[in-house]
């Protein structure tokens, strides 16, 4: 293990260097660009054996990834925002072809208006594409998640693509202390990829991506659902194995000072770091507050999350993206739906925050805890979504 100072982008590039994938196909987009620039240096200096394909669009990036994965190679890529949106069609196809591609999504607000800063509208919009989604709080987790993602994606019970997200600029461009595994440790953890089928096996020709009508399509989708369900135990097993190796355990989520908490915030991404600080301050003031950091958004750990929220008097769910016209952002919808019928009679409120990179400060999070404290007293949640730190 060694300790280095890395930005989020550099941390992921380090993980990719250690994974040393057979193929990377990518297209530059802010704020992902530095990640691929860094990795391209590894390629040009012969530090990795990867064949890097610098395609002419993100749609072609994901298409090339699907082809390369179908050919039995280990494949990685990275993108942000509009790049992810341009891949949309291919995200679904990559998942349905059961391609274990690992992609970093450096979260950025989806146009329009055009904006280069962080929110989660890009990856949250892709939440139904059939990818496993891992969120990262900081550079360390971006590194750790990337290594684990390769194992999760390629697990024979799963065989699905994995998206590792990190907040654009807030994580991607911020230098932090990161613990890096020794190369040999990382390589041993990731292991070799043994695909079940390969297009390059001319002795056993297979047809991939055939036309699939009403008589079989549904069964194939059901199998895809099962792969995602299987990921539940695989994510946990690999999180434990990685914990034994690195000293950092990973699960669906991390609960912070939740033991005797009455009030809590559910959040993901870099805002968790801010919320953690607020929890410490409020605890010092004698408030019984906690924090639930969601790491795995797909598959959504609905049963486990309810058990942690049971016993609270009120909680807030933080969403860094909108779902226009729905009651709450994507995280809220999932969490609140998970609570239905589970005997949780308590106020649950949704805060949409940080769109387009709007800062979310200690004061903002403090206000959230203050408001849910009032909701706990009244026993009532507001009838609508709350927007944090916006001029209305």
């Amino acid at each position: 293990m060694k300790i280095v100072g890395l930005t989020g982008n550099d941390a992921v590039a380090e993980a990719m260097r250690q994974v040393d994938p057979d193929v990377v196909a990518a297209y530059p987009i802010t704020p992902q660009t530095e990640l691929m620039e860094r990795f391209a240096e590894f390629v040009s200096d012969g530090i990795v054996k990867t064949e890097l394909v610098l395609v002419e669009s993100e749609h072609s990036a994901m298409s090339a990834c699907v082809g390369a994965s179908g050919a039995g190679s280990r494949v990685m890529t990275a993108t942000s925002a509009n790049g992810l949106a341009l891949m949309w069609e291919m995200l679904y196809i990559a998942a349905s072809c059961r391609c274990p591609i690992v992609m970093t999504v450096v979260n950025r607000a989806l146009s329009g208006p055009i904006n280069i800063h962080c929110d989660h509208s890009d990856s949250m919009g892709a939440r139904d594409a059939g990818w496993i989604h891992l969120f990262s709080e900081n550079s360390q987790e971006a590194y750790d998640n990337t290594l684990q993602a390769v194992r999760i994606a390629e697990h024979p019970d799963v065989s699905l693509p994995v998206m590792v997200t990190l907040d654009g600029f807030i994580i991607s461009h911020t230098l932090e202390r990161v613990e890096i595994l020794e190369d040999e440790q990382a390589k041993k953890f990731v292991g070799d990829f043994s695909p079940k089928y390969s297009l390059l096996d001319v002795q056993n020709p297979v047809t991939m991506g055939p036309l699939d009508f009403h008589d079989f399509y549904f069964e194939h989708k059901r199998l895809q659902v099962q792969g995602m369900e299987n990921a539940r135990h695989v994510v946990r097993e690999i999180g434990k194995e990685y914990g034994a190796l690195s000293g950092r355990d990973f699960d669906y989520f991390e609960s912070y000072r939740m033991e005797d908490a009455e009030l809590a915030v559910v959040a993901l991404g870099s805002a968790v770091g801010t919320a953690r600080g607020v929890v410490d301050e409020l605890r010092d003031e004698g408030k019984r507050v906690g924090l639930l950091k969601l790491r795995v958004f797909r598959p959504f750990p609905r049963r486990e999350i309810v058990e942690l929220l049971r016993g609270l008097k009120a909680f807030a769910v933080m969403d860094r993206s909108n779902s226009f016209g729905s009651y709450g952002g994507p995280v809220f919808s999932e969490v609140r739906s998970a609570c239905y019928g589970q005997g949780l009679e308590l106020p649950i409120v949704n805060y949409v925050y940080g769109l387009g990179g709007r800062d979310t400060t200690f004061e903002d999070i403090r206000r959230v805890y203050q408001e849910i404290e009032q909701m706990a007293s009244s026993g009532k949640a507001p009838d609508d979504i709350r927007f944090l730190n916006v001029r209305e």
Partner: protein, 312 residues
Amino acid sequence: MATLKDLASREDLLTGGHRACAGCGMTSIVRQILLVAGKNVVVGCATGCLEVTTTIFPYSAWRVPFIHSAFENVAATVSGIETAYRSLRKQGKIQEDMRFIAFGGDGGTYDIGIQALSGALERGHKMLYVCYDNEAYMNTGNQRSGATPFSAHTSTCPVGSVIKGKQQFNKDLTSIVAAHGVPYVAQANGAFWKDLTTKVEKALSVDGPSFLNVLSPCVLGWKYPTDETVEISKLAVDTCFWPLYEVDEGVYRITHVPPKKKPLGEWTKPQGRFRHFHQPGGEALLARAQAEVDRRWEKLLSISEKPRKPGQ
């Protein structure tokens, strides 16, 4: 160069039993290409007639590895396969010498797929891209494409009482591809088997991207009898609507000069999509189409190596 006897003795790598229409030009073109390519080949296919008729799950007509992923991206998909091959071969994980062929229709090539095609050509992947050009979106019922000829009837540019079919000329895709400066580009036609198979051999032997634009008559869209596909194909060449030529390392060479250049009307007359050319009032449209064919043919002659004797 393979002889007909030799080709006929090889295993067909696209089996019968697929669902292509009777008289379809596409499948005979693909079979000829695969006879030359052999078994150490991976095929990628854009969404379209070829994919839809040959891979209805749980059946597949392909005896070689095959992938379809989407409509506009076969060049990108196959570039990924070819890259994986180079990576694994470099690492000693694969030993075979392999070839990669992408098939796309004119919709998937001239129109929605041209960006992915251009990118793959520029990147220099060692792959053959074959456009089977049936001159409209035939898989979905004959909608206009960038390859649809002037004034042809399609379901989205019908011949009406005011507007007579497509108002523009077809895009010269072969020239666009040639402008990328890739090692080998050619136009071919399924009715000229020797010309086609020779071009496939050349295309698969170059160290870099190659491209074949193959005219692929469509019985339903072009509206002609199912047993006239070969004849219609030949007339496209003999009228110089579809010249057979190659661009070999930048040198243009006409590979078949019609013994006598026939009037365009001989090709359009048997086709229902050009029926209005041959009805009262259609002469001017046919004349305009003829003028463009003449212009393109003269231009091709002017930039090509001196043609061999007519008929060769």
